[in-house]
């Protein structure tokens, strides 16, 4: 399957590039092939932006990068999970929410998503997740803002969940931060927590 080989290539690339901060996606980038969702490259890029807003990368004072969703290509994992593991009603809400995201923010918030700055994007997504009452319907709109918002919030919930999962079950997280041992050796039944990594 195309998507599978695309994923494998992505994994190889990710390993080979070892968390170099990536630039904007080049024009050659192929869309992740999906069985159930129909999302073109632009929408997949937008998803990647949402994931990168949820878990951003950062650079510390000594120039080391703490990778986030972008370096881990987590949008690919999110797409695979939504495409393969979610019921179709959630898939539909996810697709609709992603498709409405820019339109809705353009129409109803101060700034459309995405912006250049992480802080701005965080503020927009946070606001979206917190809105309780949908804006009033505008004349002639095909989909009511209430429906749009419902799908956007479902989309953001799903994306956040899988971004967190993808991050925490990533090679980086499970080797650099909370080392997972395939062969852990003896079980220590009672150990002081003093000085131990919490895991």
């Amino acid at each position: 399957m195309d998507r599978r080989s695309a994923l494998k290539q992505a994994a190889l690339l990710a390993g080979g590039l070892a968390w170099l901060p990536s630039c904007d996606f080049g024009p050659q980038r192929a869309a992740v092939a999906l069985d159930n969702l129909q999302l073109d490259t632009d929408l997949q890029d937008l998803l990647a932006k949402v994931a990168a807003t949820i878990i951003p990368s950062e650079e510390n004072e000594s120039g080391e990068i703490s990778p986030g969703a972008e370096e881990m290509d987590l949008y690919r994992f999110i797409l695979v999970m939504v495409d393969d593991c979610l019921p179709s009603e959630d898939q539909t809400a996810f697709s609709n929410g992603l498709k409405q995201l820019t339109l809705f923010t353009k129409a109803h918030l101060e700034k459309p998503f995405p912006q250049k700055e992480q802080t701005e994007n965080e503020a927009i997504l946070t606001q979206l997740m917190e809105i309780e009452e949908a804006p009033a319907a505008t004349e002639g709109a095909e989909v009511s803002p209430a429906e749009q918002l419902k799908d956007i919030q479902t989309f953001l919930g799903i994306t956040k969940r899988y971004t967190i999962q993808g991050y925490m079950v990533s090679e980086y997280f499970m080797t650099e931060k909370f080392p997972y041992k395939l062969v852990p050796g003896p079980y220590q039944a009672c150990v002081s927590t003093e000085g131990l990594t919490v895991m």
Partner: protein
């Protein structure tokens, strides 16, 4: 039957045939070949070779496309197997999908199967508690099923025999309701498990907490190294197959051992259709097999046949082995075959928190847990339900994370977890009473792709079971409260029978041919050269995990069969 790829009958004749290569069939094969018998093992599934055929065994969590979760496409069409606790992306290739091998559920029954060389011995939970006379004497004392034809002293030496070879980690606890065995060093209880043990044992008489005995090489001996197995490394990824051979399976232990004798012929992809009965000789003479790949029908012959197809499939096979002499199935003169099927109740669960021992935690993983042997109705009848339940007990230190918000603060939270309380939990393992109404039978019209009738399952809980579940909730709530646990929550999973994967009976042992199918040596009363030593032979279920007992019965039965053969009685 015309068959041009198979040569002469002589070349299809063995000293013994074993049907099934799972935990009990593997033992039959090891014992038969070890005693010099040329043995054919027939396995309906594909071949699985130790290590070589464990494709996921060394994969890291992030290497699974769905991080362990099964895609909807599979869970939607296979609801039964998807409910199994061990069915995940790393193990799915060892489980039978519902759609591959249908069966008929008159009442909901989750039939969990593993069709491959090694069967479910690759997948089991590796818990190996001995049964005691409080189990074997149960039916006679409490007036259900029929009396077991054996007692603990008959099986005890065979428990030791299989324990030494398989390698069992355990502590000698000195409990009469859970006899000690021949153990390798025990795994450790953690601080909260020890705390609960102390509370339980001082506050109640007859209630004990031990570390569960498990089929893991905590300290391999020469006999284990000779099998090519090594120390258990506590990976706790057992159901993928263990590259160290750290836990016991047919694949890592009995089958390669049998192969080394030069007396074993393994034939995977061999679906046994029926056992052939010769009316003149008044014995079974062989089996009719369908090669699942070529679809050819082939007959194999042997004077000795061991049936180890797994509890319910053994019922199917014997019921389908019809002849003029046995129109209702081989050895089924009394019509009881397929009846009195029983299982274990795993519906009750309880959890709680413990706010002590906050300066301590555990490090690493442990492939077993705590175990509370049955304390209800052990020495005498004391409740309004019969029998009782054993229970697991486990404690682990919680790691807590804040998942609020998005952005850098969320990321910081994910990277900075905090210690939480200890969480504790138990699940019940209840004995069920075998009843004539809990049955399996052959569907009169529907067949599988080889023309073998589908198995029809009609098994349900009863009032005794419901009372026992309530008692588990009451007793454990009290025990947890008295230990100072908080946030106590009970849960009835409502799961169907079968999901316990401890289905037993249908071809039960007994003293009287009128009321049982097998004698005390696991021979069919009416066809003594056929031995049945898997779960179908169980007269009652005890509360303890049954696999160790199947293994002991298999080894004991082979010993008897070969002695009888040498005396020319078989």
């Amino acid at each position: 039957m015309a068959n041009f790829t198979i040569d002469s009958k002589d070349n299809r004749t063995y000293d013994a045939i074993v049907i099934g290569s799972g935990i009990s069939g593997g033992w039959a094969a090891k014992e038969l070949t070890g005693k010099g018998l040329k043995t054919l093992v027939l396995e309906r599934g594909r071949n699985v070779e130790h290590i070589k055929d464990y494709p996921t065994t060394n994969k890291m969590p992030w290497e699974f496309e769905h991080r362990g979760q099964m895609p909807k496409e599979i869970t939607k069409d296979n609801p039964v197997i998807s409910r199994c606790y061990a069915f995940h992306e790393d193990t799915a290739h060892f489980f039978v999908k519902d759609t591959e091998h249908p069966y008929v559920q008159d009442k909901p029954f989750d039939w969990i199967r593993g069709y491959q060389v090694g069967g479910k011995s690759l997948l089991w939970a590796r818990q190996v508690q001995r049964w005691s006379d409080y189990d074997f004497e149960g039916p006679a004392r409490d007036g259900f099923a029929v009396d077991w034809p054996i007692r603990y002293e008959d099986i005890a030496p065979w428990y030791s025999y299989v324990e030494k070879f398989a390698g069992i980690s355990g502590n000698k606890d000195g409990l009469d309701n859970l006899p000690d065995g021949d153990f390798l060093p025990p795994m450790d209880l953690n601080c909260v498990e020890k705390y609960f043990k102390e509370k339980l044992e001082t506050q109640y008489s007859g209630r004990n907490l031990i570390v569960a005995r498990c089929a893991h090489l905590s300290e391999p001996q020469a006999i284990h190294l000779e099998q090519g197995r090594g120390q258990c490394m506590n990976r706790n990824l057992c159901q993928r197959g263990c590259p160290f051979g750290g836990y016991f399976s047919s694949n890592s232990s009995t089958l390669p051992w049998a192969m080394k004798t030069g007396n074993l012929t393994m034939r995977p992809n061999a679906v046994v259709h029926s056992i052939i009965y010769d009316e003149e000789k008044e014995k079974a003479t062989g089996v009719q097999v369908i090669d699942s790949e070529s679809k050819e029908s082939i007959e194999f012959y042997a004077p000795l046949i061991f049936v180890n197809a797994s509890a319910l499939n053994t019922n199917t096979l014997l019921l389908n082995s019809k002849s003029n002499r046995f129109p209702e199935g081989l050895g089924n003169d009394n019509g009881l075959m397929g009846k009195y099927v029983a299982f274990h109740i795993y519906r009750g669960k309880i959890s709680g928190s413990y706010e002590g021992e906050l300066g301590n935690t555990t490090v690493g993983r442990r492939p077993t847990s705590g175990y509370i042997p049955r304390f209800r109705n052990v020495y005498k009848q004391e409740t309004d339900f019969l029998r009782g339940y054993a229970s697991g007990f486990g404690a682990h230190r919680r790691v807590e994370r804040e998942y609020e918000g998005i952005g850098q603060s969320l990321k910081d939270n994910l990277l900075n977890p905090q210690w939480g309380n200890w969480r504790v939990g138990s699940h019940m393992m209840g004995e069920t009473i075998p009843k004539e109404t809990n049955t399996v039978s052959l569907d009169p019209t529907q067949t599988d792709k080889w023309g073998i009738p589908l198995l029809k399952v009609n098994i349900d809980y009863d009032d005794n079971d419901e009372k026992m579940i309530q008692d588990f909730f009451e007793q454990f709530t009290e025990m947890y409260e008295r230990a100072g646990f908080t946030d106590i929550q009970t849960r009835d999973t409502g799961q169907a029978p079968g999901l316990d994967i401890h289905e037993m009976g249908g071809v039960r042992m007994g003293k009287d041919p009128k009321t049982s199918l097998l004698n005390k040596w696991n021979q069919l009363h009416a066809c003594p050269n056929v031995f049945v030593t898997d779960g179908s032979s169980m007269t009652s279920t005890s509360t303890q995990n049954p696999s160790l007992t199947y293994m002991a019965f298999a080894a004991r039965a082979v010993d008897h069969a070969v002695k009888e053969k040498n005396k020319l009685n078989l």
